[in-house]
């Protein structure tokens, strides 16, 4: 069972085969998506007609490549905007939360902590519809009372960002809290003994210490926002983020341009993953 316990050759070989099969199962769908982005065919399916880069650089229908497909490029832009706003907002709040839960003692703290974890156990679709219902209740009330329609509370990018922010903040809080817990408070006290105000001490001593966690949480938050589907689906208005645009095309049955987008996403995620691995490394010493 473990290397120090002897086991039969048959057992070891079949165990290894199982693990290999598992990894083939994990990798195959991604390899297939990537491979068919280079297939010289109008459909992402067999037969293999040879290699082409049309699905990246093709300029005309029906072979409109990713880099000339304005609708897709625009939706990527929308996703980047939403993800940037969501990431910055959730990092700011998560840092406050980390200080609140790690440093302060107050009645009802445990209850608030459990509440803070709640967004993780609410299915994304339901989080989306609940925010949709509540925001339109507020907007309707405003319209009736003040005769003014708050555009931001109707389905659209503001609501999408709010919906994603609602649960991404919890994840960011967990990451940043874990790092803050390791911080030695005496360092901050030393800074204050040397004449720094509390805020200066936090800004010059504590926040630099939190930097790896902030970066790590930022990468995760950006990816989660960029790739979010369930919550976004319920709150989206006329501007579609990339996941929604891709979903619509997938249902219609699209050309391999979607494979090209997927490859772009894989490259993007890989870069972000490298950034987070790179920034997390020093703390392992």
């Amino acid at each position: 069972m473990i290397p120090s316990i002897s086991s039969s050759r048959f057992y070891r070989v079949s165990y290894l085969c199982y693990v290999l099969l598992f990894f083939i199962f994990l990798i195959t769908p991604l390899v297939v998506v990537a491979a068919f982005s280079f297939n010289d065919s109008l459909f992402p399916s067999l037969p293999w007609n040879g290699f082409t880069l049309d699905w990246y650089f093709g300029e005309h229908e029906p072979r409109l490549g990713l880099f000339h497909d304005d609708a897709l490029l625009e939706s990527i832009g929308v996703s980047v905007q939403v993800a940037t706003v969501t990431t910055l907002a959730s990092l700011a709040l998560a840092t406050c939360n980390a200080f609140l839960f790690e440093r302060e003692q107050f009645p009802g703290k445990n209850f608030l902590y459990v509440l803070m974890l709640m967004p993780l156990v609410v299915p994304g679709v339901i989080l989306g519809v609940s925010i949709l219902v509540f925001s339109s209740t507020v907007a309707n009330w405003f319209e009736v009372t003040f005769d003014y329609d708050i555009e931001a509370l109707r389905p659209g990018l503001v609501l999408v960002a709010l919906g994603q922010f609602a649960f991404i903040t919890t994840i960011a809080t967990l990451v940043i809290s874990a790092r803050l817990r390791k911080f030695d408070v005496t360092q901050e006290e030393a800074a204050m003994n040397l004449g720094a105000s509390r805020l200066t001490a936090i800004a010059t001593v504590t926040l630099p210490f939190l930097k790896p966690a902030l970066l790590g949480a930022g990468v995760v938050a950006f990816l989660m926002s960029f790739e979010n589907f369930n919550t976004t689906l319920m709150l989206v208005g006329s501007d579609a983020p990339l996941t929604i645009a891709m979903f619509d095309r997938l249902r219609e049955g699209s050309t391999p341009v979607l494979n090209a987008v997927s490859v772009l996403l894989m490259v993007g995620s890989a870069c972000l993953a490298l950034i987070s691995v790179f920034t997390q490394r020093p703390e392992k010493e």
Binding site: I2, V19, V125, I126
Partner: protein, 294 residues
């Protein structure tokens, strides 16, 4: 020394700091989590009697129980989510054990990271990969023809097995990570001691490894179950029009039929089911919510 003259000042500053920290978290949870859910409960408990005229009523819940389609979809979603969770656990456990206990050093890190890679990529892309593999003109159908098992293309998409494969694939990470973490913390000498005392492999597994891994198994199962129950993308794309997933009913009521009262009732029912099963899972294994979540 520094606390001398500045003592009372830093104390008021500290109190102000506390309220400044508390305010955003209360606003966040209040405005984006608590009030929306309360409002959803209120909306689910009303019935439109005329334009902009509503009355308190349980009719949306009565409709749910009276209409077999809704009721069946609900049960079907729950049962398939439980099956998917158990299958994910059974597939992931041996792999996690291999990574945590059989391997060590660099191969261990490499394989663990390899497990995580697919999940850096959007769920949409992963599901798309399965569509290309399973569809009639897809790779698996092509491979089966080439091998001579079948003589014409076969449609493997749009059935429950396809949904199940997609759900298991999508959930794998959330099972492997907690399992590897807990199994890794199990001391090898405990397993050796089990063998020395004459235990069989099965016995050692059942009375040493699995009890030790229970927190990981539980948190993996809870997260996978919730994600599966609330999944919309995978059942819709891999199951086609007849996938009958409960989140699709919610979507239809809200977006297609614009019957928000009914949709809200469905949402509450799904939320209650999900919370009940999470709660029951924690009770049965005596785990605490905050521990499993973080």
């Amino acid at each position: 020394m520094s606390a001398g003259p500045g003592g009372s000042f830093s104390r008021t500053q500290y109190r102000l700091g506390f309220w400044l920290l508390l305010a955003p978290v209360v606003l966040w949870l209040g405005l984006l989590i608590i009030l929306p859910h309360i409002d959803m409960v209120l909306v689910s408990l009303r019935e439109r009697v005329a334009s902009r005229q509503y009355e308190f009523s349980f009719s949306n819940y009565i409709t749910f129980f009276a209409e077999p389609l809704y009721w069946n979809t609900f049960v079907r979603t729950a049962v398939m989510s439980i099956v998917a969770t158990l299958l994910t656990l059974m597939i992931a456990f041996p792999v996690s054990f291999y990574i945590a206990k059989v391997l060590s050093g660099r191969p261990k890190m490499a394989l663990f990271i390899l497990c995580l890679i697919p999940f850096w990529v959007s769920e949409l892309v992963r599901t798309y990969g399965w569509m290309i593999l399973l569809r009639e003109t897809g790779l698996i159908s092509g491979a089966l023809q080439w091998l001579g098992f079948i003589d014409q293309p076969v449609e493997l998409l749009y059935n429950d097995a396809a949904i199940m494969v997609g759900l298991i694939y999508t959930s794998m990470l959330f099972m492997v990570v907690p399992l590897v973490t807990t199994l890794d913390s199990l001391d090898n000498s405990l397993i050796e001691a089990g063998y020395d005392l004459g235990g069989s492999s099965w016995h050692v597994m059942r009375s040493i490894v699995i009890p030790h891994a229970m927190p990981g198994i539980m948190s993996g199962c809870i997260v996978v179950f919730m994600l599966t129950l609330g999944n919309y993308l995978t059942p819709t794309l891999l199951g086609g029009k007849d996938s009958l997933w409960f989140t699709e009913q919610i979507y239809t009521q809200f977006i297609t039929r614009f019957n928000w009262e009914q949709g809200a009732a469905f949402g509450i029912l799904l939320l209650v089911l999900s919370s009940l099963i999470v709660w029951a899972g924690l009770k049965v294994t005596k785990q605490s919510f905050t521990r499993v979540m973080s």
